[in-house]
C-alpha cells in the first residue's frame, strides 16, 4: 500500500524524517519496500500483513507511529452540521441478510454539486494511486485511505423506491458494475439492491445504474460492515478485487461505519453539500470488544526476556488497549475495536514483543532435550545414490513435477487448475529428463549424463520416490588426444545401475529383455524396480533412459555389510570359448557354468563376445575366463582341470565348445 509521509507526519505529529519513519514502520512489522520522492513529500510503499487491515489507512499507520514515538494522534473533524429534512423521510434501509451485513449506516446529502475536487484532495488521492474522478468519489476514496473504511456513494434519485435492501442475489440477476462489465450473479453473492434490482456488489463495487454522475443532486452514503468471508468468496468467484474488498475481506472496525460516514459528510459539507438530519444505523448484535487476561509470566516464558507488568501495560496502552493491572502478576486488556486481529493472550504477547523490539530479545540456544534421530533410511538412500552418481560422472537435474502430457495422458493425474501447458503431475521422471536433454541439445550441447531424484505421481497409486538416468554422452566427456568421444551404450547405463545396486546392496538384481525391444526390465529381490530404454532425442540423438522406483528398491536392499574372510589361497584361471545360438542369453550361460562350478568357481568373466562372417550363421562366440579358488586350501592343477572340465561340459550343453 502507498502512503504519504507528510500525511502521516501531520496525523501523528512525527518527530522524525521520512527515512527514519520508514525504518520505524519496518521495525514494527509494516515493511516499507520503497521510499520515493514526490515533490516535497515522500511516498512509502508498504507491505501490510493480512492480519492488520487497520493499517491499510493513514490513521492506522499514524496510530502505530504515535505509539512508537509517544506522540498524540491528531484527530480529524467528523461532525457535520445537519439541516433540512430527516433521513427517514428520504430513504429506507432494509437488511435481509444480517449475518452477512451486521451493520449498515446511511447518510443522505442534498444540494450536491458534482464537480472537480479541490487541489489538495486531487493531489492526495492521486499520490496514493487513485485517479481523481469527481468531488464525491474522491472524498469517499480519501476517507477510505484516511480511515481504512470503504464508503460508497449512490445517486439517491437513481435508486428505485429511494431505498436500499441488503440481500443475497437471486439466481439469474445481473449487474453492470462500475468497471463496465455485465455480471451474472449467483445466490451466494450479497448485493445492495433498490426496490427491484441489485445496484452494487456488497463490499466490492458499485453498479453503473446508481453511479454518481454530473447530474447527481442527492446522495445516499453507505458505510457498512460486511462478512469478510462472503466478500472474499464473492470477489474470488467474480474475479473482481477492489480496494474496498481488500479491506472488507480482512475485517473492518465494527465502530467505523458511523465515523467514516460522518467524516465524508464533513468533507462534502465543506464543498457545499447539505447533510440531512439523522442517520440510519441498521445493526444486529455485535460482539463486545474482547477482554483478555494475560499472565506476565507467560510473556517471559514465551519471549525469553523479562518484561515487567507495568512495562507490558504501558506498551498496550500506547497501542490503544484499555489495560487494568492486577498486581505484578497479570493484567487485563480490552481490545480496541479496530484491532480485529487480537483475541487471545498470545496476540497480546506479540504486541508486547513488537513494542519491546524483537532485536532487544537476547539470543540463546535451546536445551538439547530431544534425542536426534538418524537420517531416515529412504533419505540416506537418496543421498548415497546422489553421491555415487555424481562420482560416476552424472550431473543432477531438477525438473518440474508437472509436465505437458502426451497425447494419451492415461495413468497421469491432471491438475485442476494448471497455469501453463504443464497440466499433469508426472507419473515418471522420463518426460522431464527428456525436456532437459532437449534443452541442452538445442543449445548445442549433446554430451551429457543426467540423473534426477524426485517424486512421481502415477494415477491410482501412492506418490513414490524415483531415480531417473538419462545418458547421451559416452564414457569420456569429450574426445581426447588419445581417443575419440564414444557413443552412449546400453551396457554402460546397465553398468552404472549394476554398480549402484551393488553399492546400495540391492538383493537379487536381474535384467530381463522387454520382448521385441532393446529395452530391459530391472528387478531386485524378485520385484520389478525399473527399466532401461533406448530413445532418440529430437529424432536424431541416441540416448538411454532408465528409471528406478526407489520405494520399491528400498524394500529390497540389505543394510549391513557382513565381513567375509579374505581368501589366502592362490587362484587359477582357465578360459573357455564356445559358439552358441544368437538367441542364447548370457545369463543362461552364467547360470549353467555357476551351477557346474560350485563353490570353488570364484568368478566368471566374459572376456570376448564375437559375431561375424567367420562364424556359422545365427551363432555368436563367447569366451569366459573362469577363476578357481578354494577358501580352505590350495587347489592342485589336477583339481582345477577337473573343475574346469565340468564347467566346459556344462557349456557344451548350450553350444559347441571351441578348442
Amino acid at each position: 500500500m502507498k502512503i504519504s509521509y507528510l500525511w502521516l507526519r501531520d496525523l501523528a505529529k512525527l518527530p522524525a524524517g521520512p527515512l527514519e519513519t520508514a525504518k520505524a514502520l519496518t521495525s514494527m512489522g509494516h515493511a516499507v519496500d520503497t521510499v520515493s520522492k514526490l515533490w516535497e513529500d515522500h511516498i512509502f510503499d508498504l507491505d501490510i500483513t493480512s492480519n492488520r487491515p487497520d493499517c491499510l489507512s493513514a490513521i492506522g499507520l499514524a496510530r502505530e507511529l504515535a505509539a512508537y514515538y509517544g506522540t498524540n494522534l491528531h484527530t480529524r473533524p467528523a461532525s457535520p452540521v445537519e439541516e433540512g429534512q430527516r433521513i427517514e423521510n428520504l430513504t429506507t434501509v432494509v437488511v435481509d441478510a444480517p449475518d452477512l451485513c451486521p451493520r449498515y449506516c446511511a447518510r443522505v446529502l442534498t444540494s450536491v454539486k458534482i464537480g472537480e475536487s479541490p487541489a489538495w484532495l486531487k493531489s492526495r488521492v492521486d499520490a496514493h494511486g487513485f485517479r481523481s474522478i469527481n468531488n464525491v468519489v474522491d472524498v469517499t476514496n480519501f476517507v477510505m485511505l484516511e480511515m481504512g473504511h470503504p464508503v460508497h456513494a449512490f445517486d439517491l434519485d437513481r435508486l428505485g423506491g429511494h431505498m436500499i435492501r441488503v440481500r443475497k442475489a437471486k439466481a439469474g440477476e445481473r449487474l453492470r458494475t462500475l468497471d463496465a462489465v455485465d455480471r451474472l450473479l449467483d445466490p451466494e453473492v450479497l448485493v445492495i439492491a433498490d426496490q427491484k434490482e441489485p445496484v452494487a456488489l456488497a463490499g466490492i463495487m458499485g453498479g453503473e445504474l446508481s453511479e454518481i454522475s454530473a447530474g447527481t443532486t442527492r446522495i445516499l452514503l453507505e458505510s457498512a460492515l460486511f462478512d469478510p468471508m462472503n466478500v472474499r468468496r464473492s470477489s474470488k468467484r467474480l474475479g473482481l478485487r477492489t480496494e474496498a474488498s481488500a479491506r472488507f475481506e480482512k475485517g473492518c472496525d465494527p465502530e467505523a461505519p458511523p465515523r467514516a460516514a460522518d467524516r465524508v459528510c464533513h468533507l462534502l459539507q465543506e464543498m457545499g453539500c447539505v447533510v440531512a438530519r439523522g442517520y440510519l444505523d441498521v445493526k444486529s448484535a455485535t460482539r463486545p470488544p474482547a477482554v483478555i487476561d494475560l499472565k506476565v509470566a507467560d510473556v517471559h516464558a514465551l519471549l525469553g526476556v523479562e518484561i515487567g507488568a507495568e512495562e507490558c501495560a504501558r506498551f498496550l496502552d500506547l497501542l490503544g488497549f484499555t489495560v487494568k493491572l492486577n498486581g505484578a502478576e497479570s493484567l487485563q486488556a480490552r481490545v480496541p475495536t479496530h484491532r480485529v486481529d487480537v483475541s487471545s493472550p498470545v496476540d497480546l504477547i506479540e504486541e508486547i514483543a513488537r513494542f519491546h523490539g524483537y532485536d532487544r530479545i537476547p539470543a540463546a540456544l535451546p536445551p538439547l532435550d530431544s534425542e536426534p534421530e538418524p537420517l531416515p533410511a529412504h533419505l540416506a538412500l537418496e543421498e548415497d545414490i546422489r553421491d555415487f552418481l555424481v562420482g560416476a560422472g552424472l550431473t543432477e537435474v531438477i525438473t518440474y513435477s508437472f509436465v505437458q502430457p502426451p497425447a494419451d495422458p492415461a495413468g497421469m493425474v491432471p491438475l485442476r487448475n494448471a497455469i501453463s501447458e504443464r497440466t499433469h503431475l508426472r507419473s515418471s521422471l522420463a518426460a522431464g529428463m527428456r525436456e532437459a536433454a532437449l534443452h541442452n541439445i538445442n543449445n548445442g550441447h549433446e554430451d551429457f549424463r543426467f540423473f534426477e531424484l524426485g517424486h512421481v505421481f502415477p494415477a491410482g497409486q501412492r506418490e513414490s520416490a524415483a531415480l531417473g538416468i538419462l545418458v547421451s554422452g559416452g564414457a569420456t566427456a569429450e574426445p581426447t588426444w588419445r581417443a575419440p568421444a564414444d557413443r552412449p551404450d546400453f551396457f554402460e547405463v546397465k553398468g552404472i545401475i549394476e554398480e549402484l545396486f551393488e553399492r546400495v546392496a540391492a538383493k537379487w538384481v536381474a535384467f530381463r529383455r522387454r520382448d521385441g525391444t532393446a529395452a530391459a526390465e530391472i528387478s531386485a529381490g524378485g520385484a520389478a524396480v525399473g527399466w532401461i530404454e533406448p530413445l532418440t532425442i529430437d529424432g536424431r540423438h541416441p540416448a538411454y533412459l532408465a528409471e528406478i522406483n526407489l520405494d520399491a528398491l528400498a524394500l529390497r536392499i540389505g543394510r549391513r555389510v557382513d565381513y567375509a574372510p579374505v581368501v589366502r589361497y592362490p587362484a587359477s584361471w582357465r578360459d573357455v570359448s564356445f559358439l552358441v545360438d544368437e538367441s542364447t542369453e548370457y545369463a543362461s550361460v552364467v547360470k549353467a557354468v555357476a551351477d557346474a562350478g560350485g563353490r570353488e568357481l570364484g568368478s566368471i568373466t566374459l572376456i570376448d563376445l564375437y559375431r561375424g562372417d567367420k562364424l556359422p550363421g545365427g551363432k555368436k562366440s563367447m569366451t569366459l575366463r573362469l577363476r578357481y579358488q578354494s577358501a580352505t586350501r590350495t587347489l592342485t592343477s589336477a583339481e582345477v582341470d577337473e573343475l574346469h572340465a565340468r564347467c566346459v561340459e556344462a557349456v557344451a550343453t548350450l553350444g559347441s565348445v571351441r578348442r
Binding site: S27, G29, A31, T49, S50, A301, L302, L303, G304, V305, V346, I349, E350, A353, R354, Y358, I361, P362, A363, A364, L365, P366, P367, D369, S370, P372, L375, P376, L379, A392, G393, T395, E396, V397, I398, T399, Y400, S401, F402, P414, R416, N417, I419, S420, L425, A436, H439, N440, H445, F448, R449, G454, H455, F457, A475, T476, A477, T480, W481, R482
Partner: protein
C-alpha cells in the same frame, strides 16, 4: 704377428666401437671381433702356433685380454645405448599435454544448498523429516491455522488435484505429520519441494524448495529462536553476519518474524543484491501458534515451540549471485557444471 698387430687391432676396435650407434651395429661389431670362425680375435688365436715361440705366450695373453676388453666394451656400449634410447623416450613425454580426465558430475546447486543447510541443523541436533508432496487441505492449511477463505491463502495459491488434495504450498504439513507421530520434545527440519500457483518470472517459479524447522519442548522461547537462527546464519553465511528480526505475520506462528541478515556481499554498504538496504530477507519464523498444538494433541500449557522456514532456491541465488531462478529448472549443463561440489 706380434704385439703391435694386437695393439693396432685394439685401436681399430675402439674406433669402430665409437661409430656404433645402435644395437644392430654392436651385434655386427661383436661378430666381427669375437666370432669363433670369422672374428679378428679368433683369427689371431688360430695364427698363434705360427708365432715366434719367444713371444707366443705374451701375444696369447694379450689376445685373451683384448677379447675380454672387447666383450666388456661392447656390453658397456650396449647398456649406454639402451639408456640413451630410454632417455629418448622419456624426452618425448610432454607433461603439459592434457590429462585424460574421468567424466565429472555435478550436484544440482539447490541440492548443494539443501545439504549445507541440513548439515548445519544436524550439527545442532535436528532430525530430518519428509513427507508427501501431494497432501490434504487439512495438513497444508487447516492444521497450519489457515482456514478456508483466510486472506493468508492469497500468498499461497495452490494447485489442486481433487477438492481435498493439493500440491503442498510449504513444508509445514511435514511438521504437522511429525507432531502427530511424535511426542515432544522434538527438534526437526523438513526440506522439500513446494508448489505455488505463481506466474513464472525471474524471482518466481511454480515449484521451489523450502527448509522448515520446528523445535517444541518445555520452556522454548523467542530467545531460543533468535539464538538458533543466529547460529545458523553464522555457519551458513559467515561469523560476521548480523541478524535482524522484524514483526511479521504467518498464521501458524505468533509472535511472527521476518528475518534479515546483513548483506554478506557489500557488508551493509549497499549493493544490487540487498537493494542498497544493507539487509537481505532470508526467512520467516516465529513461536508456534497454540492452535497448532491443539490440533496435534500437544498441551499448549505444557509446551511451547518455534518454527522457521526459508527458501532454498533464494539462498542459492544469493550465494552464487544468480539472477534468474528459472535457470534452476532449465538444467542447462553450462549452468549446472559451474557448481563444483
Amino acid at each position: 704377428m706380434d704385439l703391435t698387430d694386437i695393439e693396432a687391432l685394439e685401436a681399430r676396435f675402439n674406433g669402430e666401437l665409437q661409430a656404433c650407434a645402435d644395437d644392430r651395429a654392436l651385434t655386427a661389431l661383436h661378430d666381427a671381433y669375437l666370432s669363433r670362425k670369422r672374428g679378428h680375435i679368433g683369427e689371431i688365436m688360430r695364427q698363434l702356433p705360427q708365432v715366434d715361440p719367444s713371444v707366443r705366450g705374451a701375444v696369447g695373453q694379450r689376445a685373451n685380454a683384448l677379447k675380454r676388453r672387447v666383450e666388456e666394451a661392447i656390453e658397456k656400449r650396449r647398456a649406454e645405448l639402451a639408456e640413451a634410447a630410454q632417455q629418448a623416450i622419456v624426452d618425448l613425454v610432454d607433461v603439459t599435454l592434457p590429462g585424460i580426465r574421468p567424466r565429472r558430475g555435478f550436484i544440482h546447486p539447490i541440492s548443494q544448498t539443501r545439504r549445507e543447510i541440513c548439515r548445519i541443523f544436524m550439527q545442532m541436533g535436528y532430525s530430518i523429516e519428509d513427507g508427501p508432496e501431494l497432501d490434504t487441505e487439512y495438513y497444508n492449511f487447516e492444521a497450519a491455522n489457515i482456514p478456508r477463505d483466510h486472506p493468508a491463502r492469497d500468498a499461497q495459491d495452490s494447485f489442486y488435484v481433487t477438492d481435498d488434495l493439493l500440491l503442498r504450498t510449504h513444508t509445514t504439513p511435514v511438521q504437522i505429520h511429525a507432531m502427530e507421530r511424535r511426542k515432544p520434545p522434538l527438534r526437526i527440519i523438513a526440506p522439500g519441494r513446494v508448489f505455488r500457483r505463481d506466474a513464472t518470472d525471474a524471482t518466481h517459479t511454480p515449484m521451489f524448495f523450502q527448509v522448515e524447522g520446528l523445535v517444541v519442548g518445555k520452556g522454548i522461547s523467542f530467545a531460543h529462536l533468535r539464538g538458533t537462527l543466529q547460529t545458523f546464519a553464522h555457519m551458513m553465511f559467515g561469523p560476521d553476519v548480523k541478524l535482524r528480526l522484524r514483526p511479521s505475520y504467518f498464521p501458524f506462528v505468533e509472535p511472527g518474524a521476518e528475518v534479515d541478515i546483513s548483506c554478506f556481499l557489500c557488508k551493509g554498504n549497499g549493493c544490487r543484491v540487498c537493494k542498497d538496504s544493507g539487509w537481505i530477507e532470508i526467512l520467516g519464523a516465529g513461536m508456534v501458534h497454540p492452535a497448532l498444538f491443539d490440533r496435534v494433541g500437544y498441551d499448549r500449557k505444557e509446551v511451547t515451540g518455534f518454527a522457521f522456514g526459508m527458501g532454498i532456491d533464494r539462498i542459492t541465488l544469493l550465494k552464487h549471485g544468480i539472477e534468474d531462478t528459472r535457470l534452476f529448472f532449465e538444467n542447462d549443463y553450462r549452468f549446472l557444471s559451474q557448481f563444483r561440489s
